[in-house]
Symmetry: C2
DNA sequence: GTAAAAAGGCAACATAGTTGCAAAATATTC
DNA sequence: GAATATTTTGCAACTATGTTGCCTTTTTAC
């Protein structure tokens, strides 16, 4: 990876933080970096393991909370009760997530992916129920694990 | 409620446990009772509060785990990272859940319902992904809270 | 560069979940 | 229905996860 590219990423991170009214600190840059350098979602534990040597546990919690509040990342509910986080697309903003894509959890590698191109379907509810948000999580075998089973 | 009805429920509970190769104990009867006497799902915390005075925390954990293993109840993933449990329909069996209905979480009363008549839709995944299970959780306003807002 | 504001680190705490083991309850056998 | 084998329970101790208050450090604004 060239220096140019590294600089680009750093600039992207800084502008993302500034746009969100967050001061640019080392922990926030580091954690955003983790999200940008890989395609899938990260569980809190992953982040703590990867950033936890340098930063306090509390800082990780507060950083993730700030990112969610500002619409930089969103949470993904999963059956195993471990919150996962993934970067939002650009149309999310502070206090207002537009997170209408399907999430995919691989049962082999345990990675979580945002399938940005797969929109959540309309669900016909029984009379009296009113839907505000629909979460779809698909479990199965991902692209990378298929064939390697 | 007549004695007849109470006896009926107790019999139903005992036969459900025996069918699942679980011995009939006080804690299991009590916790099953909690599920049968109300329509929605229960969070672990609810169960511990309602059964926890009589039984140890550990017993509640182990009882719920046993029920999930035997296909008596199933878990519902939610965004707030609190596992909820609900009774399975009769076609679930040990180690094999057939849980293809949509779940509904009310944002007002915070109750969770299994919409047994609403089946999870087919999701068209990108090439290379293979779906094994689809979880749909709808958040909104439930039948009972509608109009009372 | 300095002052104000924001974020981080630490400690202490609260909640959630797990494990091993001895005691108690349940099931089984005769 | 009593004795034995099996299962389940409660307890204690532990790990993991998440939160709060306060003081120090870093960042920002001027």
């Amino acid at each position: 990876m060239s220096n140019k590219t590294i600089e680009d990423i750093e600039n992207r991170i800084a502008s993302l933080l500034k746009r969100s009214d967050l001061s640019v600190t080392e922990s926030r840059r580091k954690i955003l970096h983790l999200f940008l350098e890989q395609p899938g979602a990260l569980a809190h534990g992953d982040i703590e393991r990867k950033a936890g040597e340098k930063f306090d546990r509390v800082t990780v919690y507060r950083t993730l909370q700030a990112f969610v509040d500002k619409g930089i990342i969103h949470t993904i509910p999963t059956a195993d009760n471990s919150i996962r986080y993934a970067l939002c697309k650009d149309d999310c903003s502070a206090g207002h997530h537009h997170d209408h894509h399907v999430h995919f959890v691989c049962s082999i590698c345990n990675n979580t992916y945002c399938l940005d191109d797969v929109v959540t379907p309309e669900i016909k509810l029984p009379k009296g129920y009113h839907a505000e948000q629909v979460e779809v999580v698909v479990e199965g075998v991902c692209k990378n694990c298929k064939g390697r089973e």
